[in-house]
Symmetry: C2
């Protein structure tokens, strides 16, 4: 499947590109700057230039599915949380609808479904993610929302715990999040569902087979 990865230059996004590529999909890396292109082209992966705050419509041509893995990150202000995490996601959903793209997988965050429960410093972020997730749910697209716990740079071991609600907080390597997102692109079972995601003891394809 030809999958547009929005935020392909991000820490999770880079893994998503590789995991899609390894599993026989055809990823298309959406990046903001031309100097982010060679790392993908060197691997034979197509890239498109698109800026979530401006125009990125051309990125959607000939795309069959979208993985949204972009985020403004911890080094910018909350204004960018609105403009990228919330509004960038909402515009990506609108574009996907416009182009008739059926499948949309959203990288969200644990507690985005109950932002009022978050730590004070995180609340604005969780609400922004919440609004984007709610917009996706009501979009009519076939969606999957994945809300991982704290992301680490540990090497993935391919073992996860994924449930509609997990009542404890925890962490998970970015690589395992990326593999889960990539797996969900082709899975029929996960349509119109939202999941919490942590490291666990089931292999990804087993966890998602249930």
């Amino acid at each position: 499947m030809r999958v547009l990865v929005i935020g392909a230059n991000g820490q999770v996004g880079k893994y998503v590109i590789d995991k899609l590529n390894d599993s026989g999909h055809e990823p298309v890396a959406m990046v903001r700057d031309t100097d982010q292109v060679p790392q993908f082209e060197d691997k034979g992966i197509r890239s498109v230039i698109g800026d979530l705050e401006k125009d990125f419509e051309s990125a959607f041509y000939n795309i069959e599915a979208v993985i949204f893995a972009a985020g403004s990150g911890p080094h910018t202000g909350a204004d960018k949380t609105i403009l990228i995490d919330q509004e960038g996601a909402i515009r990506a959903i609108e574009r996907a609808k416009h182009f008739g793209i059926k499948r949309f997988v959203m990288l969200s965050s644990m507690a985005a479904d109950r932002p009022e429960s978050g730590a004070e410093a995180m609340k604005h972020y969780l609400y922004a993610k919440h609004r984007a997730d709610e917009y996706l749910k009501q979009s009519g697209l076939d969606y999957t929302i994945v809300r991982p716990g704290r992301l680490t740079n540990d090497r993935g071991n391919g073992k996860i715990k994924i449930q509609e609600h997990i009542n404890s907080y925890g962490e998970i390597p970015r690589e395992d999040v990326a593999e889960t997102l990539s797996f969900l692109i082709s899975g029929a079972k996960a349509e119109n569902k939202a999941y919490d995601l942590l490291s666990g003891d089931q292999r990804i394809h087993e966890a998602l087979a249930n």
Copy 2:
């Protein structure tokens, strides 16, 4: 009509309380701190304590209409723009629905209906207002959204220009905005409409009679 004014201690909110009172309504001032209460009680106006970021459900008992005039203001960060201007408004809309309150008048901002057109420094604010306005439109409540231009502290002259879209930017005294919001509470004509608002040459009741 018993009208809950959310943000009653704000610069527009204070005028709204007075205008409602003058026109025979029964305003209820929702304020965050107890030391904001006496200014209203001294005039015989009922007040309720409610914090938009926490709990304000008790403010809605026995209320017939809501005017949302709260804002985080220019002295706090964009995190508060999300938590107050956007999420505070959305929670107020949810509470109004929950309590079966029919009428909801929203103080928005010019360009909130086309946030992408705003100045770079204003965009995050306009998107936050936009999301709140969109939420209201889809809430099923009888709403009026008022999007004034730049607010001034000039004395109001009671003359406005109000249209669904005004193509030029301009300003308007807070007092005239407040009188317009107050007038709209009882007007039958303005249900489920959104308006741009500037100073103009029609008296408020004439402008809204058309």
